[in-house]
Amino acid sequence: MLAAALVGVPVWLTNQYLVHLLILAGLFTILAVSLNLLLGYTGQLSLGHAAFFGIGAYTSALLDVHLGLSFWVGLPAAAVAAGLSGLLIGRLAFKLRGAYFVLVTISFAEVVRLVSLNWMELTQGPLGLPGIRPPSIRLGTMASIPFHGKGAYYWLVLALAALSYGIASRVVRSRIGRAFVALRENEALAESVGVDAFRTLVLATVLAAAMAGAAGSCYAHYVSFVGPEVFLFSYTITMVIMVIAGGKGTLLGPVAGAVIFTAVPEVLREAQQFQMTVYGAILILLVIFMPRGIVPYLKERRAGAP
């Protein structure tokens, strides 16, 4: 029922602005689900997640603008490029535990942002890369049909979001997923039963980065423009809010978080200049009253009720 309603959105929802918001919510779902693999399951906080998103967006955009390669090449290439940077960061950061991963990822995102801003020849610096073509579909021998309108993007993002959710739930229930949780709970104990902590954590980073890169590619082709602002720290912060407020370490938490925290700022537009102040206050109250997140809170309440 819910699935049918979701798939049918472009048919029954005529308000293009709401469809746009749903596309954004879908992209944020991919990002939040990927961040949750790291933060929720391995317990490692990546504060440079926007870097993986941005690297994906730039990879796809550069392949299109400079080499004329389509979205269908750009998407996997973006995932690979972001995954490789995840490999680099993971190998660098997981020599140590604790806050170091956090700080390496912050630094990495900032360095990548500055490179995108200053490497004029490649990225056109602050001007960004405009004119990224929409994906097109070739049906049989017919000429290729470019994506037109928001409906097609909506289906694309919905499919990718469902795919990310599927991958995440498969991974989490697999042997690797159990290794993630074991490392989060007690690393020494996990290693004593044969979990290779370093390799497992690096693997989680690569996977999360690749998923974020795919979301970046989608975003680039949807808005047809990429600039250095994709690396902004505020995007990472939004993803972290979605994961933790939704309920980290649960499968549904980041999805709920992504949808709610895409909607909240829009609803708060009514409050005009008070918008972000109220947003901050809501966040503070939410954490104080539901410290484990929305989804775990609701679960506890349902379990508590007769």
């Binding site: 604790g98 806050a99 630094s107 360095v111 500055l114 720290f233 972000m276 102040t277 901050g280 503070i284």
Partner: protein, 290 residues
């Protein structure tokens, strides 16, 4: 050679305020285990409090700067009491999220109160630079440097020599044992957060009259404070002091000799190198404060 000396001097002066920021953050992290995302907002708070007292009320410069620091301490204490205390014992990520909320709340409240236009703060120092041999330096920068180092020295003495400082160090080493020995952990947390926030506000009040004051100024300051903390080793007081100086010097040299576009990224590049070669921080053999 002369330009090199000039860059070093500028770097050390700027580094003194980075050190203030870093010390506050490293103490809060070390003692309370709180990743304080609102740290930059206390820097902004200090700057706007100085703007309020000096530009709007027109009080004496030194009194105004002192009042700005007091404002940072008070708001810091309130924040600890009403936001952090209810979450004591919660997961570190949860506490971090609430500080992200505080960060968004404070920054946008500042925007509401003061507006987004950058403001300048009047100061009584002569705009003509002092010239010592080949070096030029504005007298206000000397004032900033001297005050920053007096504050760092006083904080060091407070942590090393007073009873409260001893209790803070004990809490850092082992909070359960400290609590069993009669240390009031709640009180230590309030004091630590107020103290760290006061130092950040001091950095803001000192740099405010040199640069411009605007609501989002704390974001870059907070990121720099994070790099100072990691360079010095988490929870390491002396490390944060030297880390701050090093970051100031590195930025100054980087802007002078490499590219000013990458100036603000130098700290991050340094972090990556520090982690590659000295992962526990440049000064962090053992994690301890003092």
């Amino acid at each position: 050679m002369d330009t090199l000396l000039q860059h070093l001097l500028n770097g050390i002066i700027l580094g003194g305020t980075y050190a203030l920021l870093g010390i506050g953050l490293t103490l809060i992290f070390g003692i309370m285990n709180v990743v304080n995302f609102a740290h930059g907002e206390f820097y902004t708070l200090g700057a706007f409090a100085a703007y309020f007292f000096l530009a709007l009320l027109g009080v004496n410069f030194y009194v105004g700067v002192a009042a700005a620091i007091v404002a940072g301490v008070l708001i810091g204490a309130l924040c600890e009491r009403f936001v952090l205390r209810p979450l004591q014992g919660e997961n570190i990520d949860t506490v971090m999220l609430v500080m992200i909320g505080v960060w968004i709340f404070m920054q946008n409240t500042e925007l509401l109160i003061w507006g987004g236009i950058p403001q300048s703060i009047p100061h009584p120092f002569s705009p003509r630079p002092l010239i010592v041999g080949p070096l030029h330096v504005n007298s206000i920068r000397i004032f900033v440097f001297v005050v920053a180092f007096c504050l760092i020295g006083a904080s060091h003495l407070a942590i090393q020599r007073t009873k409260l400082g001893k209790a803070m160090r004990a809490t850092f080493q082992d909070r359960e044992a400290a609590a069993l020995m009669g240390v009031n952990i709640h009180r230590i947390h309030t004091v630590t957060f107020a103290f760290g926030s006061g130092l950040a506000a001091a950095a803001g009040a000192l740099l405010g009259p040199i640069f411009l004051v605007y609501p989002s100024m704390g974001d870059l300051a907070a990121l720099k404070a994070f790099s100072v903390v990691i360079m010095g080793g988490l929870g390491n007081f002396m490390g944060a002091t030297f880390g701050g100086l090093m970051l100031g010097v590195a930025e100054s040299l980087g802007a002078g000799y490499i590219s000013s576009g990458y100036k603000d990224g130098i700290g991050f590049i340094m972090i990556i190198f520090v982690l590659l070669f000295r992962p526990a921080g440049l000064f962090g053999r053992a994690q301890r404060i003092g």
